[in-house]
Amino acid sequence: MNLSSLIDTPSELTNPANNNTAIVLMTRVRLARNLAGYPFPGWAKAAQRDEILARSRAAVTGTRQLANGLAIAIGELSELERLILVERHLISRELSGAKGGAGVVISRDQSFSVMLNEEDHLRIQVLRAGFNLKKAWAAIDGLDSTLEEHLDYAFSRKLGYLTACPTNLGTAMRASAMMHLPALVISNQMEKIVRAVNQLGMVVRGLFGEGSDASGSIFQISNQTTLGEAEEEIINRLGNVLRSIVEHELNARAKLLEADAEKLHDKIGRAYGILQNGHLLSSSEALNLLSLLRLGIDLGAFPDQNRVVIDRLLIETQPGHLQYAQKGEFEPGQRDVLRAARLRAEFARFGRPDFKLAPGENN
């Protein structure tokens, strides 16, 4: 399997099988693992990195989950191809900048990916559309146990899985959910939410992780601590936090509709107008407009099945995907033209909003 066929294959993220993605777009669980007896990637010599890569890659591609996947060295990928994998959340920015001896194995449906020689020897990831923390944990637990039959992990009874950075010790697990929270953003409640979530030991980040902004009202919420609690406890605690955020978002939506429905409908209607007729759209503006249309779908102004179109466009209007589809490299200014053209074409067939369909109803 090569990268272009992977990009063209329907994925968990661009074509979610389940429709339960209204507020929680996707759930991810990531485990950091290292091989005993080798230095961590950042301190390993080139020959050691190659050896670690070869051993882990053989074990990973030997599993049922990743046997038919794409196994590739980062050095073999063009800059554009790396960017596409970052935009699909399949590799991190850090791995995309790796020099030698780094790789990734990605399953055909892109629900599993294993980064090799990123900050740790293995970074195993499972990605599921919608709110599926427990299923994601079960899936990654299974893959990890299979890998452990063939790889000697660095582990200490007291400190758990040993990782390059002590902030990941213990379970070395980061569980996260990507949430669409437009009403909390519109009603200026996000800061309050971030503070409350922090106090519960969870972290809030933008769409593309550390340091990224919150364009499109999309946030990632994940556990901050990894040592001292079992995986299931962390998953349960995160799940409770997520459910409570969903509730707050739904309340905020109800309040916005109650206070001034016209104002909200106006925002959504204008977003629709710009997406249908704009000629210059930056990545960040496109995200914000798509976010408003997504909210319109949740409010019943557009048919439910359009949500998958929006979710696909959230990815496909990112710079990497846009340039890949156009088969070339373009300056940011040219990209804004291409992005707007792409969105005009998509939204030409997109029916007008009808706010009478299901007034104030949301899921």
């Binding site: 301190w43 146990s145 992990y153 758990g160 002590p166 030991g201 972290v203 990894t226 001292g228």
Partner: protein, 180 residues
Amino acid sequence: MFPAGTPLNHSMANPLKCDLCSKPATVHLTQIVNNKVHKVDLCEACAQAKGVTDPSGFSLADLLLKASLNPDGTGAAGLRCERCGFTQAEFKKQGRFGCPACYDSFLGLVEPMLENMHSGVAHTGKVPTRALERKSLYDRLTKLELDLTEAIKSERYEDAARARDEINQVKQTFNPDSAR
């Protein structure tokens, strides 16, 4: 940030230094995570650089990690991992370790950090059972082989025979997955 009446353990004559660069600190942060109070003092430049003013992009854990690496305490400075040669100075620079054995070499440095960083100091989660089984078998084998050599050297042939039998037994247990 400090409620009135909170005793401050520094006086105006001796202003707090920035935890990152030791310039005078003007930004004092208190955050409660998992019922633990975390305090950080920063100068304006570091506060800006670390994005402290932006609540969404700011991780106190990372800051605390860096802050706790300040070599206030002497003695521990200049530690070095026997296994991989990684030094304490290197850790201070990168915030990451060199190899798994560094956690033994730098345990005294790591342990106090964990309390601030995590919700506990001991692992209670998943255990790689198979890998640990293999390790304990391997350790047993190494010890038995040592016993065997010793026994032969001191002409204790009965002990040697026993060690050899046990070695064969352990090797057989190994076999099912030594095909890898």
